[in-house]
């Protein structure tokens, strides 16, 4: 977690571009954010402030070890007031960004879904609350399969 976290933070900030409020209402899809394939690419798209690590973002139902990387359950709860959106990023996937959820008022800032992981990696939960960005990280190991397919 510590090593390379500077670069990671920059990457997270870069990804923040998709979280502009006007994206939520329309059926838009932020290609630039989903297309970034590396830290370097992501950094080029810089914009927005640096996110702050927060203990108020909690992972639930997210295993330490995934028996199969094709389906990794991820549950994220944000206890930060005025949470507007929650994003799921996988550090070592070819494209880091997996999903973004906009949370309107009245919807609990807590959800669970399932993502693919190519290898053991950090999962980041990135939260936008009251215009500011926060994140939490969880290391998930992906094990080998069985009898060689």
């Amino acid at each position: 977690m510590k090593s390379g976290s500077g670069a990671t933070l920059l990457a997270l900030v870069a990804a923040a571009g998709w979280l502009r409020p006007d994206d939520a209402s329309a059926q838009s899809w932020n290609k630039a954010a989903f297309d970034t394939k590396s830290m370097a690419d992501t950094m080029k798209a810089l914009g927005g402030g640096e996110p702050v690590q927060s203990k108020d973002i909690v992972f639930f139902q997210t295993p330490d070890i995934a028996e199969n990387g094709a389906v990794v359950p991820v549950g994220i709860t944000s206890n930060i007031p005025k949470t507007e959106s929650i994003a799921v990023l996988i550090e070592k996937n070819p494209n880091m960004l997996a999903a973004v959820f906009d949370i309107p008022p009245g919807t609990e800032p807590s959800l669970s879904t399932r993502v693919k992981m190519g290898q053991s990696s950090n999962i980041y939960a990135l939260v936008k609350a009251d215009g500011k960005y926060y994140f939490a990280a969880k290391d998930v190991k992906v094990t080998l399969g069985g009898c060689g397919g």
Partner: protein, 210 residues
Amino acid sequence: MRAPMTAGISLFSALVAAVLVGCATAPSDERISADASAMIKTSFKARGQAGLDRLEQDDAQRLCSQAAGKTPPKDVAERIEKQNLATIKYPADGKLLGDWKNGEKIAQEGRGKQYSDDPKGPVGGNCYACHQLAPQELAYGTIGPSLYRFGKLRGYTVETQRYAYGKIFNSEAFAACSTMPRFGHNGILSEQQIKDVTALLMDPASPVNQ
């Protein structure tokens, strides 16, 4: 009163009849085995590199199937072990240890001989499926014993090298009806591959012996 009595008697006679019929017609164990062999022949189709000839059992396979997961009777076990011991071919150059790094790759490789595998593709020993070897690999199976520190515990002697090579070549030479494949005897691994896996077990520098 009458009705239940009648019912009771007829139920009783039905049971007797059933038992008698059962005794008269229940096929013998040999008959069932023969039926099973016949059924297997009509229930599979050749695919890829796996032809129907693979359903033909050799002596050891037939006797071990009869033993039904248990150790066969002592005389049968001795016969199987003797036959299989005679098949072991030690390397002509006398060198039993290859490269443990290749051995580790072979131990990790699960592909080979399945109808879904490329016949030209890699064939591995898949040792980790059943055995613990190098402690760095946590995803190991437990069908076979742990082989962690195999050489260190037994001593790096030529005798142990020969045992390890021979066991990989033909496991049934040492334990009739072992669950371990006869890698050399059945042509799964080449002589060089068996040397490499032997090195994984017996080379003092191998991670297995750290």
